[in-house]
Amino acid sequence: MTTLLEVKNLKKYFPAASNTLFNKRFLKAVDDVSFSIKKGETLGLVGESGCGKTTTGKTVIRLYEPTAGQIIYDGKDITKVNMLPYRRKMQIVFQDPYASLDPRMTVGDIVGEAIDIHNLAPSNAERKEKIITLLEHVGLNSEHANRFPHEFSGGQRQRIGIARALAVDPEFIVCDEPVSALDVSIQAQIINMFEELQEEMGLTYLFIAHDLSVVKHISNRIGVMYLGKLVELADSYELTFHSLHPYTKSLVSAIPVPDPKESRERQRIVLEGDVPSPLDPPSGCRFRTRCRYATKICAEEEPEFKEVRSGHFVACHHCCE
């Protein structure tokens, strides 16, 4: 399979309010992240709130301008180009189904906006037909087109958001925690729909979530982020059963097991302390303040993100001992 998206040393810093005039501080939301996604694949991205996974997703499709690094899409460097042609190939589905739909527009106009922008329908009748096809594609129907977003439930709104992303017939979709705001019963429906759409349209996903159990179900490979850094990246199975990084291990141990006996015997790794401020991250390995294996070297040197087994990358000084 060919590589569709490659991200090299991506950085996104936000200027933060500084207390002195000359010492300008930056919030390093994404700090030197590299990964690639193959055509038709789903790459999951997990991590706790504020670790930079959403920023990574939005920077990859240039909703945020990257501070440094390269984004290569389908063999072409898109870090600095005019994005308009790529807006038809790369799309995004947002986390909050309430904030992501314009309350003053009808569902038909929301879904049809891409058609208007890229002139995808030569006549009004075709536009209407296209909108109805899109709505039916995500499990809604033509009667919904004339209604306003506030008349829909969270799950339905998320379907509208997906229909909007599909309107340009994209190849790649960033799913930014698309199910986190939904009820558990609806989560399953939406995830299944993502899978069906992928099969049907050959889509490639960057699937962001803070819930490892959701991500491992849908992803081929999973990347784990901590404080703006990618700490581990591996095949889904490998990552869940043979994780190497202590942070990943604690995340994996938090996945609920549907067997009470096994659940009782299992050892839960509970992390102590809070995530340090991304404005002032720890020296060396960023995880060391909460890591039980941390030694002197962890504070002095930043661990390299290297391939320790085939396709299994990890950034830790001690994991391979």
Binding site: L63, R87, S100, M105, E113, E143, H150
Partner: protein
């Protein structure tokens, strides 16, 4: 069959929403009264020639300074002109100044505020700086200075009032745009390839319309008061065109002998201003999204 039923239900829903707005707007008695009064004033401005019993500039010296009577509803002035007729014609000036200056200041303020809020940075600093300057002047003093410099005419009056009142809209819209542009739906539009212009016109401004309409309704009476103030000071529309402020000014000298000359236009203006304020408040309540649904 099912489809027909569904469509019918949809129609009811849309109709419901509209009915909801209007029923909410007119649920309070003051709002109904205000709306009726505003319509009456607009009619008297449009059909002044049919409503006024005498021409506004017809002098009738034998009947000068008469108290209100059946023949002269609001009495006559020192030249025997019918005050009622002059007040009716004066509505034209007041409403024209009110509506036109609000139209201009709303457009200017909205555009500048939207640009400042959306682009931020230097544009924002410039616009905010100008609004602060406008705000730091006493409104009537600034208006007097400008009219004194430009000369007094209806056109200049409208320009001056727009100049002192656009800043309020700019502030309002800037604040709205500032928070709206962070919403996911704006980002979604950008992800679809929408241009900045499209995002502002299609997504951001429609979501700020309600507060702008409310503000405009509440600004109309302010504009009317400024116009009357300037006319009262002799900086308004040149005579003999009747303006409420000018009539009051002319009656000032006879306030003890013929108080109706000053009181009639004053009371009428009070009623009009009150009507707009009441209507604006009702509109705010009806349009407030937090109270809806």
């Amino acid at each position: 069959m099912k489809k027909e039923y569904q469509e019918h239900a949809d129609l009811i829903k849309v109709a419901d929403k509209r009915v909801n707005f209007w029923s909410k707007l007119f649920s309070s008695k003051p709002a109904v009264l205000a709306a009726v009064l505003i319509v009456l004033f607009i009619c008297s401005a449009l059909f002044a020639a049919f409503i006024a019993p005498y021409p506004y500039d017809k002098q009738n010296l034998p009947e000068m300074m008469q108290a209100p009577s059946k023949k002269h509803l609001f009495g006559t002035d020192e030249l025997g002109r019918d005050i009622f007729s002059r007040v009716v014609y004066g509505t034209r000036i007041s409403l024209m100044v009110g509506f036109l200056s609000v139209l201009i200041s709303t457009s200017v303020g909205t555009v500048l505020g939207a640009l400042a809020g959306y682009y931020g940075g230097v544009v924002d600093q410039l616009v905010t700086g100008f609004t602060d300057i406008v705000y730091s002047f006493p409104v009537s003093l600034l208006a007097i200075a400008v009219v004194a410099a430009l000369g007094s005419s209806l056109f200049n009056l409208i320009i001056v009032i727009s100049m002192v009142s656009w800043a309020g809209y700019a502030r309002l819209v800037r604040g709205q745009v500032f928070s709206l542009k962070e919403w996911d739906f704006v980002e979604a539009a950008r992800a679809l390839g929408a241009s900045n212009l499209r995002i502002i016109v299609k997504h951001i401004l429609p979501n700020t319309v309600a507060p702008i309409i409310v503000m405009a309704t509440l600004e109309i009476p302010k504009a009317i008061i400024i116009e009357s103030t300037l006319s009262f000071l002799g900086l308004g529309v040149p005579p003999p065109t009747p303006s409420w402020g000018a009539i009051m000014n002319a009656g000032r000298a006879f306030i003890l002998d013929a108080p109706w000359i000053t009181m009639a236009p004053g009371l009428v203006m009070m009623v009009l201003v009150l009507a707009f304020n009441l209507f604006g408040d009702a509109l705010r309540d009806a349009l407030d999204p937090r109270l809806n649904d």
